[in-house]
């Protein structure tokens, strides 16, 4: 579903993503972990076709993200970092607009908005302007926008940002439920969250992929090395010259 091959992205002198290769199949929920500025959002933006890679290829559902960008956008549901929304619009109109842009019929739009509203608990805010919604609701409206057209690939940049602990639990269950047949790649910088939500972990540091494995396998490896998953990830980051500190 998602194939990333030797992808590099530079911003002037800065190498944000450095020769990254991985693939994700249908039904997989993959957590993308790394410190701030590690290159997670840049890679997600390239997969969402917002940015183009300087080198390498990205394929979504067999389509090239560079040369078939519009077709790729049909296949993905993307929740960008900071979740930008049209503040003045009412939630229902916003979702309806996204559905119309994606070519859904009136009936399909009504059905999908109803489904998103029910599954994400949006009924209370559907007829309210987005700017009046709480952070948690806004995050769920963004997620509804990503899911509206029932895409086979979901790219979620910090999807739990702004959710309270109970909502995070609900989100985890929801993601497992909708992952059937879909490839889901979501980013976070909170290891505990990624480890509980995802089946597989990708860790990036300074643009390079430094760890890639199934969560149970990585946990077993950590045990062998007399540490836990957190220790394993921190060690991998430090090995690559990363600093793990509160600053």
């Amino acid at each position: 579903m998602i194939q990333v091959e030797h992808v590099t992205r530079r911003f002037g002198e800065l190498v944000a993503v450095d020769d990254v290769t991985f693939s994700i199949g249908p039904g997989e929920i993959v957590g993308f972990l790394g410190p701030n500025g590690a290159g997670k959002s840049t890679l997600l933006r390239m997969l969402a076709t917002y940015l183009e890679p300087c080198a390498g290829t990205l394929r979504i559902a067999g389509l090239d993200a560079r040369t078939q960008a519009l077709a790729v956008r049909e296949k993905i549901g993307y929740l960008p970092e900071h979740n930008p929304l049209f503040e003045a619009m009412r939630s229902r109109r916003f979702l309806d607009f996204l559905g119309r842009v994606r070519g859904l019929t009136r009936e399909e739009r009504a059905r999908r908005i109803g489904w998103c509203s029910e599954r994400l608990g949006l009924a209370a805010v559907l007829d309210r302007p987005i700017r009046e919604c709480s952070k948690g609701y806004r995050q769920r409206i963004g997620l509804a926008g990503a899911l509206l057209h029932d895409p086979p690939v979901l790219l979620l940049d910090e999807p739990t940002h702004g959710l309270d602990p109970l909502q995070v639990v609900a989100f985890r269950e929801f993601l497992h439920e909708i992952a059937q047949g879909r490839a889901v790649l979501f980013s976070s910088h909170i290891l505990a969250e990624v480890a509980t939500i995802s089946s597989r972990l990708l860790v990036v540091q300074r643009g390079s992929l430094i760890l890639d494995g199934q969560v149970p396998e990585l946990a077993a490896r950590a045990k062998q090395e007399h540490t836990d998953l957190e220790g394993l990830v921190v060690h991998a980051i430090r090995e690559r010259g990363g600093r793990v500190e509160l600053a």
Binding site: Y50, E74, F86
Partner: protein, 248 residues
Amino acid sequence: MSARAWRGALVVAGRELGAAFDSSIAWVATIAALLATTSVFMNGFFLAGKLDMRPLFELLPLLFVLYMPALSMRSWSEDLRSRTFELWMTLPLPPGAIVAGKYLASIALLALFLAGTLPVVALLVWLGDPDLGRIASGYAGAFLLGATLLALGSFCSALSADQIVAFLSAAFASFVLVYLGEERVVAVLDGALPGLHLGSFLSEHLSALPPYQSFLRGSLSLGACAWFVGLALLFLALSTRAVRRNRA
């Protein structure tokens, strides 16, 4: 653009028109522009007592230099500021379709403004027998001039995340585009570099005023239409290019 892209552009236009009226700028600018135009015209009309709309159309270039940038300044600057630009650029629509959709929304506002002056036509018809052909030609010129300045405003808006910068740069560029053809400006430029006829050259080839004035004389020339349409398309193409560059 494909049929799908055009349908997308219309959906975008609908959203942008709604957004324009959600913010007070479109209402305030349109009502202020209508009040300014009609009150200045009516004052002159009662003094001169002539059934002629030309004085109203002659006011529009000066008004449009400020009004069109006010309508277009939000089109991209607001998205760049609020990061909704990323949302636009990951929708399954080519950037050209989104530029076209936003432009169509601003054109609808221009049409609304021009429709707001129709009571003046009704008044003239009620009072006598004005030259309706010349009035229709004046409206065509006003529409084309406004549409060209809106395309210029869209381009300026795509260059900055700051609405004030977008407004000022569009107003300045519109002023230059229009007033290069003003008689006194032409005389000053011609006088500054005698022999080169710089003022006359710029007025003839670059200014929007001579083609606009040809409409006010009642002549619907194909050349003047092509001049406005060509320039508007050029600015829209530049807007699309600027939008693409903003992604990087």
